[in-house]
Amino acid sequence: MRDSVSRSVRYCLVLVATMGLVACEPRGEHDGEAGGGLVVEDAWVRPARNAGTGNVHSAAYFTLRNRSRQDVRLSSVEAEVAEAVEIHESIDDAGVVRMRPVATVEVPARGSVAFQPGGLHVMLLRLRHDLVDGDSLRLSLVFEDGARVEVPAVVRSAVF
């Protein structure tokens, strides 16, 4: 009985300590995860050839999962591989696809947002070099509250 009580106390202490650590984790640069409980999953970029001919673009995709209790907003993405990076959305308007820039993307508390072909995507404009299947590059996701998440993204074709 005493053993069982002491086990419970120990368990509670560990739990409280863990919660404290999680709450105290600073916001800052992390690989694929921000201190605020934001996780970036399955980041990938479309292959692109002939970057040398100029004005060759590609797109990056990922899933943003917000494990925190607060909504967060993605405000921009940075990537060394492109001269400019913009967040866009493709909208299927009765068979006509329209692509428009998006200023910010809200990821609701305990929710997720998928960047995927035919929907939200990160446009990588004027690539500095070709993107070949299997290559890896880094994306920096910048959030409205100043948090920044560094993510490795693999170059691959879409999986249908």
């Binding site: 050839r49 060759v56 673009h57 493709s90 068979g95 696809v97 820039p101």
Partner: protein, 190 residues
């Protein structure tokens, strides 16, 4: 035993009679489609060059990073699923809806990056407008704040039968397996 054989025979009979339901929209009877002459890296490309083959027309542009490469890569995956003999009877033609920026060389190189047998064609804005209108494809420049522009366009893919008539239309997002199934069906049928 007799019952088993009867059930098996019936199942075979039913399988044989099952009508294939295409994933795309089948036009039955097929619809007349206008002739076109556009330009690829190696010169003029006309619809009539492909008599006897299925022609898959995909309208897009090289600066489109999302929907167009998505569609063309699905087509490439579908063609790779066909037997070599079947694949030879299918010609994918990527038609630029950005004639202002896509030279014939540029769109052809783009198409070939997905599959070496694909052909990319462009033309003058007037030529492209005429072909798009003939095939029911809407396209329009949309100016962006950045000073750049994108092109809004119908994202459906059109298939012409061996006689050059429109026979099937796939909406955007049709997956590669479905495209391959429909191509095999059209090859059997034609």
């Amino acid at each position: 035993m007799i019952r088993f054989v009867s059930v098996a025979a019936l199942a075979l009979l039913l399988t044989g009679c099952t009508r294939y339901e295409p994933h795309g929209t089948l036009l039955d009877p097929p619809m007349n489609a206008p002739e076109f002459v556009l330009t690829s890296a190696d010169g003029a490309v006309a619809k009539s060059d492909f008599q006897g083959q299925l022609v898959v027309l995909s309208f897009g542009f090289t600066r489109c990073p999302d929907v167009c490469p998505d569609t063309v890569s699905r087509l490439a995956r579908a063609v790779r699923q066909l037997d070599p003999e079947q694949a030879q009877q299918v010609q994918v033609v990527v038609v630029s809806v950005d004639p202002w920026r896509d030279s014939p060389e540029r769109i052809h190189t783009y198409a070939q990056a997905f599959h070496p047998t694909f052909v990319g064609v462009s033309g003058t804005p007037e030529e492209i407008a005429a072909v798009a209108a003939g095939y029911g494809i809407f396209f329009e420049r949309a100016e962006l704040d950045s000073g750049d522009y994108t092109v809004d366009h119908t994202a459906a893919t059109t298939v012409l039968n061996r006689r050059g008539e429109t026979v099937l239309i796939w909406p955007y997002g049709t997956d590669a397996d479905a495209i391959a199934d429909d191509l095999r069906f059209l090859l059997r049928r034609a």
